[in-house]
Symmetry: C2
Subunit: 350 residues, 2 copies
């Protein structure tokens, strides 16, 4: 992600391989790691989802493959052009742009799928190929990042520059961390809590970088956290609502998701979910609601999910099941506006 020239190199290699097949008089063919459910395995060693060994072949001599073969090649060439011109695009835009080149996709689902194939093939995530989500979550804390995007080359930005935080957009994702005073990354589910933690100078008290997840975190946000974790050697803690959905937001950051199993460098196996868990709801007597059928069903699903087979996670699920209650992280406001920073977080972070 830091070095955009690598994906360009991989895309160029891919193009050369196809071309040399043609020059040698062969129909070009490629093999892509299979992204089908059967080939997605939870790796006990690294504690994350990865792809197995199955591969799918796209053979341009096969009339059933020729269409998707061509679509894949077009996406690869569009992506190379994006990177070379320092531009970015979105999934939606990719779909529409195809028409400019006489390439047709049935619908956006089809172009999305082919882009995932390209990710699996050249082993770069779409953000490294120039494709970014439309909506961004935010970040705030004592880190200096160095931009690489056009017009901002080598400019350094302090991530406390805006008291509202900075959006995790294309520019920040392609920037490099330079240095930090922080000792921890604290990821937070809701925007209200994120703002509260900035205002109460939680980032200063706990020397932490705050990341707003905004529900299930976009892949780009997980990627930036992983990168700060790797390059600045910062542990990651995750603070969510106290319900199956919040717990799963944390688990996906820690262990990855099935539909991104073909992407490396996304999961953060040492990241820790600090709560709100069922015990917190009881201990702090938080305002809570009864779980509905959807919540209970979700707990059942998660209890069978390969990412939740350890004793600790099974016990977290079991506690929710016994309690049958859920609470939002903002429920701490019941005890006053600073309670979460003065009382809850210190016990969880230290």
């Amino acid at each position: 992600m830091s070095d955009m020239s690598d994906p360009i190199k991989s895309l160029t290699e891919l193009g050369k391989k196809i071309l040399s097949s043609i020059e040698d008089g062969h129909f070009p063919r490629i093999e892509i790691p299979a992204r089908s459910t059967e080939n997605i395995v939870f790796d006990e060693q690294t504690e994350q989802f990865i792809l197995g060994d199955s591969r799918t072949t796209r053979d341009s001599s096969n009339s059933k493959h020729i269409r998707s073969f061509m679509q894949l090649m077009w996406i690869a060439s569009f992506s190379k052009r994006l990177l070379e011109s320092g531009r970015t695009s979105s999934l939606r835009d990719l779909y529409y742009s195809s028409e400019a080149f006489g390439v047709r996709f049935k619908d956006q689902a089809e172009s999305d799928r082919l882009l995932s194939d390209l990710e699996a093939l050249i082993e770069y995530p779409r953000e490294s190929l120039g494709f970014f989500p439309e909506e961004h979550s935010s970040i705030y804390g004592k880190v200096i990042m160095r931009y690489t995007v056009k017009g901002y080359e080598d400019k350094e930005v302090d991530l406390t520059i805006s008291p509202d935080g900075l959006p995790i957009g294309p520019a920040l994702l392609s920037a490099s961390p330079v240095r930090t005073d922080a000792k921890l990354i604290l990821a937070v589910e809701s925007g209200g809590m994120f703002s509260r933690l900035i205002e109460t100078r939680c980032w200063e008290r706990f020397d932490c970088i705050l990341v707003h997840l905004g529900g299930q975190a976009p892949r780009s946000t997980r990627r930036l956290m992983r990168r700060l974790h790797d390059e600045l050697h910062l542990p990651v803690k995750i603070f969510t609502d106290g319900d199956p959905w919040g717990m799963h937001i944390a688990r996906v950051i820690i262990a990855g998701s099935a539909n991104a199993a073909h992407i490396r460098d996304l999961a953060i196996p040492t990241a820790e979910w600090i709560g709100v868990n069922a015990d917190d709801i009881v201990r702090y007597n938080l305002p809570c609601e009864d779980m509905n059928n959807r919540d209970l069903k979700r707990l059942d699903e998660l209890s069978k999910d390969s990412r939740y087979l350890s004793d600790d996670w099974q016990s977290a699920i079991e506690s929710f099941r016994r309690l049958r209650k859920k609470a939002e992280q903002q429920a701490f406001s019941r005890f006053g506006i600073d309670f979460v920073v003065d009382e809850y977080l210190p016990t969880k972070i230290q």
Copy 2:
């Protein structure tokens, strides 16, 4: 919004009035502009929604009023405390915080409604009372703003500091515009288009400040646009998807919405919707979809809406009705990634 001391003054006045009633041996009572549908009128003069003359009485001697009277007073006091301590809160947080004070709301809808009553009573929007939405849209362009929030007092920020834009959060909303090189505010519906226009340096070519709306714009975003419009004397143009929903995003920015009719300084009557309109879809032969029943029903509703009675707006609706097609703003990518900046916007902006 710039001068947070004014709302504090109004809240203090309100408290004094109540207190002096009690000291005089009277049950305090207040009169609030009625926010009921019958009292919301479209003002032909200013071309925006405003409240009529009806007023609702809350009399603390009436046992039916005493609960909501007390709730309203508590919100006023909570708000004063927020402003005095330089803190912010969200609607959700307000609801939970009430429990810390032994005040009960049936649900969040009730606390939201009471906060709107307070807005109507003291004539300040909730952002001036310390309450902000959890999610923020973004802004980018050549403006210098001066922060007022704690820890950032008098710090100036250039809104081109982050190539991903800056979120329109509490800090930016309470900041003051200092100076600008821009000649125009260009509000854009989708995040993809916003990023594209930053990257292609559209803001430089057209001397514009870019605002990302993210669908129906949050009130806080409309407020910031209005303020930049007023204080920097910048015209506002709005670029949305080509469908009834995009058109209405523009119309609400221009003429206001019924549920914010009690808020002043939100509508921008001189703002202009540049498209995508039905004629653009035809003229540029944009990739489009057939309107579904929901779209067509929405056109019917809008055609009877008091904000759409002028010939121009009726004709915009009629064109969509005849065409029965809709297109997204990103559909311009069909003609290449720069077409929208090189071809479409120049004809619309100049």
